[in-house]
Symmetry: C2
Subunit: 451 residues, 2 copies
């Protein structure tokens, strides 16, 4: 028979079992941490009607979208989790309680140009808090805590949550009479890290059409750095000149004020007046998260406050705040940087049971007991030489192998080999179980990311 050469599409991540187990650990930590903050899991369809998904329309999105006809229906694959959330809240709003706090971890699709490290199918891991008409600033203050816990539980230490407030920026530009140009200015200022202040000034003059004095004001403003207290003090100097600015500063002060109570260490947090987030719809606090030793990766968790989640679907005012982690890309980058902990167990099982008797009943019963005790157990019964069996155990990386022969059965013990130390014990079941459990607890102690 002619064979079809199997392949996986480029831009689609397909992991081998061991990295997949690491990815599963990361997902599980995200689920647990998001749940700890009172977010409920949602799971919306991957396919939506194109007109629903593209209600906002325009831009890069429409070019990259996977869109197709099925029968009479014009369908598309979701390109993010925010539009489906807007649809969900607009559609089911009557049955939800607000503030509505949901997380969703799911695949999204963008037909980007294929290149290394760029994915067309990738996981986003989002949380959002949606208010009905209003939403208290405390929700914005809580987000850094969620980011901090998530990355800490994953094992990262040297990361920084950078926070700004769009009201401060918009108020500041309004003071300078630059409201119209604010979008172009923010995009230019966003390049500060890459091109430096002199080139930013040039672009502000040439591309944004600013006067020298306006550009100087902006450079002075974005040069405000230091501790949170220092930055806030410097911002106080602009108070009283524009209402929006004053509101923004008051919000930012609230966010900073509660940081310690939310358990966020000051070293993992910084007010950063240069960040704005590209999306037009952010209206208050905005967030970026960078790995201090890997600034080239860019932000690994971003988001912000918006005033109108679902304006394309409903007249209902639905303000919210949310963040998103691009999980597939993050996982890829961590792997590239060698930051995934190789010592955590990734085997399909904790114990491999090798029967050494003709009758398999004792080995099967033993496996059933181990599973009953919560130990992930694989029973290996293929007709192979002993050496081949041990090679298999080595290759899958199983931490323990249990042998059960007539001698052990007669003596009421099991032979258990720790595959890492090579140590072999012959103990009764209960003691072997204790040994395995404490060993597993030790082996599973580490975090999935090593830094």
């Amino acid at each position: 028979m002619a064979k079809m050469t199997p392949r996986t599409l480029s831009g689609f991540m397909e992991l081998l079992p061991q990295p997949q187990q690491q990815m599963e650990r990361m997902m599980q930590i995200l689920r647990e941490t998001y749940a700890l903050y009172g977010f409920t899991p949602l799971d919306t369809p991957i396919i939506e009607a194109s007109e629903v998904l593209l209600a906002k329309g325009g831009g890069e999105t429409e070019k990259q979208i996977y869109r197709f006809q099925k029968g009479d229906a014009d369908l598309a694959l979701r390109f993010d989790l925010t539009v489906p959330l807007a649809k969900y809240v607009a559609l089911h709003g009557g049955e939800l309680s607000f503030p509505f706090r949901r997380y969703q971890i799911g695949k999204v699709y963008r037909g980007e140009r294929a290149q290394r490290g760029r994915f067309r199918e990738f996981y986003q891991a989002d949380i959002d808090v949606i208010g009905d008409g209003k939403l208290d600033i405390t929700n914005e203050a809580e987000i850094p805590s969620i980011i901090y816990q998530t990355f800490t539980r994953l094992g990262l230490k040297r990361f920084q949550i950078r926070v700004n407030n769009r009201k401060i920026l918009n108020g500041f530009y309004a003071m300078l009479g630059l409201t119209e140009q604010s979008g172009a200015i923010m995009r230019t200022v966003d390049k500060l890290d890459k091109i430096g202040p002199d080139k930013v000034r040039d672009l502000l003059l040439s591309d944004c059409g600013l006067r020298e004095d306006q550009a100087a004001e902006i450079l002075k403003f974005i040069a405000i750095t230091g501790s949170n207290a220092e930055v806030l003090a410097a911002l106080e100097g602009y108070m009283g000149r524009h209402e929006l600015f004053d509101t923004g500063l008051s919000e930012l002060k609230t966010v900073v004020k509660y940081l310690a109570d939310f358990g966020v260490p000051e070293e993992n947090f910084a007010v950063d007046l240069t960040i704005a987030r590209g999306l037009d719809y952010y209206t208050g606090t905005v967030y970026e998260t960078t790995l201090l030793d890997h600034p080239e990766i860019g932000s690994v968790c971003s988001g912000g406050r918006y005033d109108n989640l679902a304006e394309y679907y409903t007249d209902r005012q639905l303000p919210g705040v949310g963040i998103s982690i691009g999980l597939t890309r993050l996982f890829y980058v961590l792997g590239e940087q060698g930051m995934l902990n190789p010592d955590l167990p990734t085997a399909p099982a904790d114990v491999l049971v090798l029967p050494m008797t003709e009758d398999l009943a004792p080995a099967i019963s033993l496996s059933t007991r181990l599973r009953g005790a919560g130990v992930r157990t694989q029973l290996y019964t293929e007709q192979k030489k002993f050496k081949a069996k041990m090679n298999y155990a080595d290759k899958i990386g199983v931490p323990y192998v249990i042998f059960l022969g007539d001698d052990e059965i007669a003596a009421g013990v099991v032979a258990c080999k720790d595959m890492k130390t090579g140590e072999q014990t012959k103990l009764p079941f209960a003691e072997t179980l204790d040994l395995i459990r404490s060993g597993l607890a030790e082996k599973n102690k580490g975090t999935v990311i090593l830094e």
Copy 2:
């Protein structure tokens, strides 16, 4: 602004938060149970090249598939998890260890005619064990144990795992000289439950072209019922007439022999000579699982042994055994039957913290402590009347509400209300935490399915 009416496509399940939490519990139980048996999680792309996905070609599949063009690429959404597994093993086989045991829980797509309870996007939850060239019969004997554990952990009691062996059927039809007609006969016999033996006989004569004596032999054969021991004894009577039959009977005896050691009670298991599974590629043990009180649902977990997983992609002989649960449909049916446990917590949080002070710092610190202790905590800070806040707590179904006012802070206690009993305590943090933890353990005791 003109609004787009939000909608979700018909045939696509989109759950409200409370049922979604029940669905998440079911998925988590499947993940844990599959892992307990030493299966590793996989996650393959939802989109594949059409030629890869349709390498086998033909039939209903091709009509139902979501297939589309993107640029030059002819793409399709997976319609099951077996073909992607075959591709995966053929593609990555050199880096896998065999037997290769994987589970996958993922969405698949079939453009079926929309009707109540039929889904176009639905979860399948599959496990497969793949051998390299050979695969020991013990793997087939282990499957009923996995099915039993899975459904028991979900909370089902009155279910039956029905098992047959295709070698017995094919050997038996060969004895009667009916190898050619065996497919048609099996499809007819499969209707026994619905139409009864007389009509099966009629169809065997009219549609399958059998002689009276052949039809009589078949009816006698499929009338073999009783305990496992009785059925096996009756089958012994056919021994020695066809090699394939003898092999199949020997395999079936092995499956039955180890049932008790695998922890499967006899009442949840039955040898059933009428089941065959439609798919042509099953070659050994086949499985169906029915709910005894809901036979109309049909099989909720099916599968079997096959000899050649990836014959369209590789010359390598890859025999395997696997089962699949149609999770979305199962969840839908359980909901329709009122079998989902309404008493298990489905709130986004375990505790809702209501600050009663101007300064939120004490309430935020308390929330941080609760989260640090693993209690899912939502901090509620919206400016609402007390009654509105309590209504919110009621609506989301949170088990505990904690109030923190100046009095409590001064006294070093927290006020905690059990929303079910209405009982309110004022105790120090540690005691309140104990109370919440033991209460949650109690509330989470039940199974997700009630029967």
